[in-house]
Each structure stands twice: as C-alpha cells, then as structure tokens.
Subunit: 273 residues, 3 copies
Amino acid sequence: MLKEYLKQVRTTTPLVHNITNYVTVNDCANILIACGGAPIMADDLDDAVEITAICGGLNLNIGTLNSRTIPTMFASGKKAAELGHPILLDPVGAGASTLRTKTASDLADQLPLTVIRGNLSEIKTLATGSGGARGVDAAIADVINEDTLDGIITFAQDYAKRSGAIIAITGATDLVTTADQACVIKNGDPMMASITGSGCMLSAMTTAYLTANPNDPFMATVAAICAMGVCGEIAKAALLPGEGNATFRNRLIDAVYNLTGDTLDTQARFTLI
Amino acid sequence: MLKEYLKQVRTTTPLVHNITNYVTVNDCANILIACGGAPIMADDLDDAVEITAICGGLNLNIGTLNSRTIPTMFASGKKAAELGHPILLDPVGAGASTLRTKTASDLADQLPLTVIRGNLSEIKTLATGSGGARGVDAAIADVINEDTLDGIITFAQDYAKRSGAIIAITGATDLVTTADQACVIKNGDPMMASITGSGCMLSAMTTAYLTANPNDPFMATVAAICAMGVCGEIAKAALLPGEGNATFRNRLIDAVYNLTGDTLDTQARFTLI
Amino acid sequence: MLKEYLKQVRTTTPLVHNITNYVTVNDCANILIACGGAPIMADDLDDAVEITAICGGLNLNIGTLNSRTIPTMFASGKKAAELGHPILLDPVGAGASTLRTKTASDLADQLPLTVIRGNLSEIKTLATGSGGARGVDAAIADVINEDTLDGIITFAQDYAKRSGAIIAITGATDLVTTADQACVIKNGDPMMASITGSGCMLSAMTTAYLTANPNDPFMATVAAICAMGVCGEIAKAALLPGEGNATFRNRLIDAVYNLTGDTLDTQARFTLI
C-alpha cells in the first residue's frame, strides 16, 4: 500500500525547493534524487521566490539559519502557500537558541505548513514554548516509548489541531499525527543517529513525497518515514566490518536509490491508531 | 593525445579559486585534488580578490548565488582577467530565475570568460535570453541527438563567436565549440545525472585543465570533459549490487584520482568536426 | 595511556560548537560523531552566542570566513572564554590574504585560545606576521624534518609562550608544544593530503578531546592528533584497488568511528621531548 506513494515520487519527479543548512545540504540533494525527486537550493531573497514558483514543494530547514536566509524562508513560504504547494518545516535546534525558537514559531504561525517534522524536543518547544533541547538532539528525558506513547500522541494531536499541520516526531520510534489520525512507525536503526543529517534528509524526502502525493499528505508522510527507516535497516545490514558512520551514510542514500515499492511494503512496520 | 593535458595538470598542480555553491563544494574540492589540482574557496569581497591573485584559474558557479557573493564574483573575475588567468562560468540554473539569468549574463558580458559550461537549457538562456530551464536540469525538449546536433553546433559556434568564450554544453552528448571549432564527446553514463554536482565537478576540473594548459584551452576543455565521462563509465562499471548514487559519487571521484593518461586516451570518444 | 583521553570523549559526548567553512563542514560534523562527540553549527551573530553557551567547546575555522561570520567568531569566542570552554583556532589560509591573516591574528590576540592548530605556514604567519602560504597548503620550504625539527620546536614554544595557547603544527610530521613541553607525532599517511578537510576534521576532533579532557589540554591534543594519524593509516590500509580519495575520506571517518583505545595506544607513535 505504501508502494503507491513511492511510485508517485518516482513517476512524477517532484521538484523540491530547499532552504536548508549548509551542513547536510549535499546529502539532502542526493537523497532527493535517490528517492525519485529533484532538488533545487536557493536562499537569497532576490532568487528564491521565483525558484519556489517553478518547484512543486518547499522544504524549510533552520539548521544554519541566518539574517539573510530567514526573510527568504518567509517570502518563499508565502509564495508556496499562494501556489498551494506543500511546505515542510524542520525546526532544527528549536529550543537551543532564542533565534531558532522564534524563527520556527513564527514560520509555524505565519505559514500554512503541511508538515512539521522534528525530534520530540524540537516539537515540544514549538508546541509549548519550552522543551529541553540539547542542541539538535532530542532531550533524553523526552523519548517515545511504551509508557510515554499515549501521552505524546495526545500532545501531538493537540498541536496538530492547533497548528493545522501534520506533526511528525521522529526518533527511535516515529509518530505522525493529524488532529484525529495517528501512526506509530518502528522502522530504522540506531546507527541513523550516528550520522549528521538523518533528520534533514528525511525532511527533504518527505517533502518530495508530499509533493508527489498531494491528495494524502498524512499517508505520504508515513510512507516517507517508513522508507527512510527501512533504508536505515538495509544500510545497517550491508555494513561490513571496519565500516562506520561515513559509509553508513552512503549506504543509506544508496538504499533509498534502490528501494522498491515491494521492499517498502514488506519491511515497513507502522501501526495506524 | 589527451594524455598530455592530463599530465600537465598532474605535474603543475594548478591552484583553482572557486566561488561556488555550498551544495556541491566539497565534491568540487575533492575532485580538484583527485585530478591533480588544488582548490581554494573564498567568496567574501574582502578576501577573494587576493585569493584570486595567488591562484592560477577561477571557477565561477552561481548555484547558490547571493547578494554577498555576486559582487565577489565580479571583483575576482576582474582580477583574474587582469592577471590573464582562465575564467570558467558555470551558469547553474540560468533561466530558472531572473537573478540567475541576469547574473550569468552580466558575468558573460563583463568578463573575458575562457569557457562557459552548462547544460543546453542554461546555454540557450545565456545565448538567446530565453531557454526552458526546469530548475538546474536541461529541458527535455532541448536534448542533443543525431537530429539536433548540426543545429546546436551552429547555435553554439555563433554564441562562441559573439561571447569570445569556448562554449561547452554537457549532457548525454557533450559539445565543445569555439567560433570555428567543434568537438562532440560521447563518453559518460546516465548515472552521472543521478547525483548532485556532476556538472559542478566538471566545471571545477575543467578550470584545472585550463589553468595547466594555457596554450590550448579548447583541447584542454575537451580533455577535461572526456576525462569526466570516462570516469563516469569506470565508476558505473565498478558499482556493486545494492550500491546507488552516493557510492557512485565516491567512485566517480575515485576514478578521477586513479585516471591515467593511457586510460583516458584509450576510452575517450570524441570527434573533432 | 592515550586511551584514557579517547575514553573520556566516548563517555562524556562533548558538544562542540563549530563556526567553520562550508567546504568541509559535513565531514567535521560526521567525524565529531564518529569520535564520540556531538556537533552543532551556528554562525549567525543572533544565534551563535547562545549556542556557544549550551556547548562545551568551540572550534573556530576561518576557511570561508566572511563579513557576517567574523563578528560571530569574536562574540562566540568571548562567550566561550567567559564560560571557561576550550577554544581552538584553525587559521585556514592565514598568510594567503590580508583578511585571513588579520582575522586569525585578531582572534589569537583577543581570545584566550586553548589550541591553535594549523600547518607550518599558517602558524608561521600568525607567529611572525609573515609566512609563505600557497593557499591552504604548507609552503614547500617549510617542512618539519630531522634537520629542521629543533628550530621549529624552539619557534613553536616561543609562540606558545607569547600566545598562551598550545601550538599544534600538523603535516607529515606533527608537533604539539606549550611554552615548556613538546611532542613529536609520526602517525598518518600521505593520502591524508589528498582529501579536502583533513585539517578541518582534526581541528573539530581536537576540540572534542579538549572539551572532554579539561584537565590536560596538552595530552588531549596529542591524543587527538595521534588518533587522526592512526586512523589515516587504517584507512589507507583498507583501501582497495581502484579506490581513491573520496573513498579514503569515508574510510578515515569510519576508522575514527571504530577506533578503540587499545588500537590507539598500540599504533600511536609520539615522542615527548
């Protein structure tokens, strides 16, 4: 069933405009191509709005936000909204600095976001104005597990309702919610936390899935997150002795490149609640 | 015969100043080292002109141009011109936004460019003021093939004459022209379009070839494009089951690192017209 | 004995704030995770000081310095100093341009740097106001070898005394000095010069070692440099026929990821003088 979402990406080659950080931008570009989409990066105010207009979706990532790129995010966001393009916000490090928290909050307030995808700490910051960010990693106290799941679903659905966006909280266990839907995903491998950019790549790829599947953004998000998790498992299984996180990164993108719909459907472990 | 151009790069270690995008900049640096050159990146107005002066060639790539780096491109370009250094322009995304089109056009107008290297859509934009860019990829209608080759050669030679630059149009088939020379190159592999940065890397490497071979920029450009295509073929042949575009990128740079003059001469498929 | 320094990194997960160049930033992030630390990148004045405050150490790298990031380096440096965090300066290209030389000199003058790590040319520029930089590589005339070692130790110790920082000069032979200590390190492989970012990655990793070992910054620096050199040897030994510098980069980071304290102690070749 998820295979249809993947197929839509591969057959329509969604063009995604990324205003993203310079740390993981190359990986984001390559994973967009790997999944079947196409990337464009443009972050200057005088350039970006036109680029937004020729793309199909917009991925906003505040990982290395700055005074020049923040206004661009708002301007491109408004253009994308005007054109009905899906917009994803990745609030990297929200809670770690005032500027990150404020920028992410303002983007969430002013733009009709389709998806907000972050770790639990970042999403808590946005939803509650607090959080417990230790930089860009989820605070340890705030992990999704059997005991905390119900509470976090309630929290995420409440924020989905208030924000109007699909809320995707990713970590060891992933959670996707709308105001009245929820999906728990248990794919992935701990080694995905051993590279920079797992989250950024997932955000870019999710934007491609949203762009290619405009009629069902919730399941498109679920499909993208399952795809990334399955590919993390494939990459880990392919790792040879002596290989580490750099090769894992390559194998992860390679796995996305080779992922078939059948493999996705066979290996995806998600539960609609 | 092309081996002499490669040998010049390996024996003179041309230092190339790159003002380029942050998406593929790491790949550009590594491929410059791989081919036998050396990279420097500097894009601040207060820094770049002096860096230009200690280098031998200048690679201008507008992939993530911005208000801070555009003036730097002009200033470094003027310094390079003053010093007689080769200058290559990679007009990434010309035609996709007004700023990209205008910046590329102005650079072409104001600087004595040695080479303009882009896909057909980008070159058409520069040459004619229009084009059909779909982001940074060549528009599908504008492909070089048996039927369109003669017309495109005429077009490129006309633009070469008007601009004074060597025109290099790369894609499935590559074309290099001056006002009265033309070369068609048929190396490469479709998988080169499955990574970000094939074009950017080629531009960086071509600048190294131009810098190391100042007396024959036309054949230096042909040699660089053949080298990249041959390495694309080598990288593809080395790809193992389960590997995808991330590993292909590594194997491509690895192939450039290991490329010998003999392999280049044996595998290059170019026709001087 | 060096294993204790590595163990401290792996057990305390030092969070390192990097204000660094966009060429090698991804590699710096991945090597920080590989060694046991965690990276944050933030370079905007309105963001960075708070990020500095939540981190444990600060890595300043001027590789692609610009008018926006230079003031950030000073502001974050002052905050780190206030908090007693270790600060490392990597003066990439000092001597290659006035701006680089001035910025590196001013950072060294105004901040209580823990370590200055560069190639011999860069360190000479900082120490003497001259140097012989050919871009970002050590000038050929300025190599550390048997004949020059004593003189360079005297020079480095003098600069260590004047600057108050540990001076780490890296190249084929590495040298770490304080005003009255010196260590010569002979690990590494020539292929480390065939990738971009060997130095940048070493600076990032050294900052993690400094942060995790606050009581002995001299030996922490020695341990980090030995670790990098040992990993360069491991990466080179693992290289297969046909592989080149791109794969070497991955294998280098992979080796850091897999490095054990025992391997470090067995393979490290350093001499305290």
